[in-house]
Amino acid sequence: MSGTKGLNRQQMADRVAREFQDGWIVNLGVGIPTMCSNTDIGDRDITYHSENGVIGYGGVAAAGEEDLNLVNAGGQNVTLKPGAAVVHHADSFGVIRGGHIDATVMGAYQVSMTGDFANWKLKGQKGGGIGGAMDLAACARRVFIILEHVTRDGSPRLVTACDLPVTARGVVTLVATNYGLFEPTGTGFRLREIAPGLTVDEIRAVTGGTLTVADGLREIAVGG
């Protein structure tokens, strides 16, 4: 990730985590989204839900204190917060499918201007890795995506239409990239906040559709 412009991985996660409201139930996908749980968002009480039925998990367990039968969706040995509960997999996806997740944060290969996103299958691949992504994408109240703004060869990941097989259509409401914080508008993306060191024109050049800019565009606060 070093060498990329703008926010680093933790800073992207931080920006998304600051959207979480007191009392929310949140599901964090594997990878960068997991880092949202590191962010200091004051005394807001967030319940983290994991696909395997752990409701209310806490931080990663300290070395030597792991319970090998307690993992989050990424397979990391985590701890429990007071008030946690464990349910089985059908009930856990009942939590998801039933609309009880206030926000899910996932990684993706692409997000479209209509809120579609793709994160389970590469181009030309047979099969793929769906896991719980399609359930979360279709059913969580809010779908937040974190991804690098451009591919390794510099192509946009915020596109007019996904050319990879989608995970769900029309569900993404917020996207954090290393360049800024965006909302799909249907005809493009709205830049809500910009990463330090980036310009709107730089971003527009590598973003699909029409880039609109929030009034009084603010810079994303980093650190702290």
Binding site: N52, V86, H89, S92, F93, D116, Q125, G127
Partner: protein
């Protein structure tokens, strides 16, 4: 048919009668709740043309534990029904993937929640249900959907099992089970969907009545064979995952 007959003295005996062509589900999500010892016994037993059901086919993490990928490598598998035929990270490789890509083994890729719900439905006598999951995706192409209250849903069918291989922390002689933490995952759901559920148990099996009726996670009516996991190295236990360098 309760008490004595639910206790089996070895994994080998507990899987001995599984015929070729069976549909077998495997509990577990990452390491917790995975029936490592039963997988190993099935590798040795050698049943063929199996249809396997599980969250993933295994082998992306280190250390590698007995997994479905090994049954595939051992030539025992016709088809896998799972939520991952490939790893999420393009850099990880599942041993199974090449068998699927070459067409040697078939696969049905199912979203994880739909997979769990299809087995829950089988256990609960629901032959089919509608779900919002996967609508508008490649997985829904050519399949039946229905608009209910203005939203589009996909029709999914129950997934009944011949066998469920599961792992729990505690069992009584009536087959009642308790799971520890994330060990629970798919295990209780698979137990309801299977004609025969075989459970490997972490702790010494206790007399019926030792688990309070309010504390049972899986009712004994769903559990047919119990085998206690011996201490390592004879028995296989969850290991600490080795973190990869990225």
């Amino acid at each position: 048919m309760t008490q004595k007959t639910k206790l089996w003295s070895s994994f080998k005996e507990a899987v001995a009668d599984i015929p070729d062509g069976s549909t077998i589900a495997f509990g577990g999500f990452a390491m917790p709740g995975t029936p490592f010892n039963l997988i190993k016994a099935l590798l040795e037993q050698g049943a063929k043309r199996l249809t396997l059901v599980a969250n993933t086919t295994g082998g992306a993490q280190q250390p590698r534990m007995p997994d479905i990928g090994m049954l595939v490598e051992n030539g025992q598998v016709a088809k896998v029904i799972c939520a991952f035929t490939a790893a999420t990270r393009p850099t990880d490789v599942l041993p199974f993937t090449k068998y699927y890509e070459s067409g040697e083994v078939d696969a049905e890729l199912v979203p994880q929640g739909t997979l769990a719900e299809r087995m829950r439905a089988a256990g609960a006598g629901i032959p089919a249900f509608y779900t919002p999951t996967a609508v508008g995706t490649e997985l829904a192409e050519g399949r039946e959907t229905r608009v209910i209250n203005g939203r589009e849903y996909l029709l999914e069918y129950a997934l009944p099992l011949d066998y469920a291989f599961i792992r729990a922390r505690t069992a009584d002689t009536a087959g009642n089970l308790r799971f520890h933490r994330a060990q629970r995952n798919f295990n209780p759901v698979m137990a309801t969907a299977a004609r025969c559920t075989i459970a490997e148990i972490d702790e010494p099996i206790v007399p019926a009545g030792s688990i309070d009726a309010d504390d049972v996670h899986t009712a004994g009516i769903y559990v047919h064979r119990l085998v206690q996991v011996p201490p390592a190295p004879e028995g296989i236990w969850p290991a600490k995952r080795q973190e990869k360098k990225r």
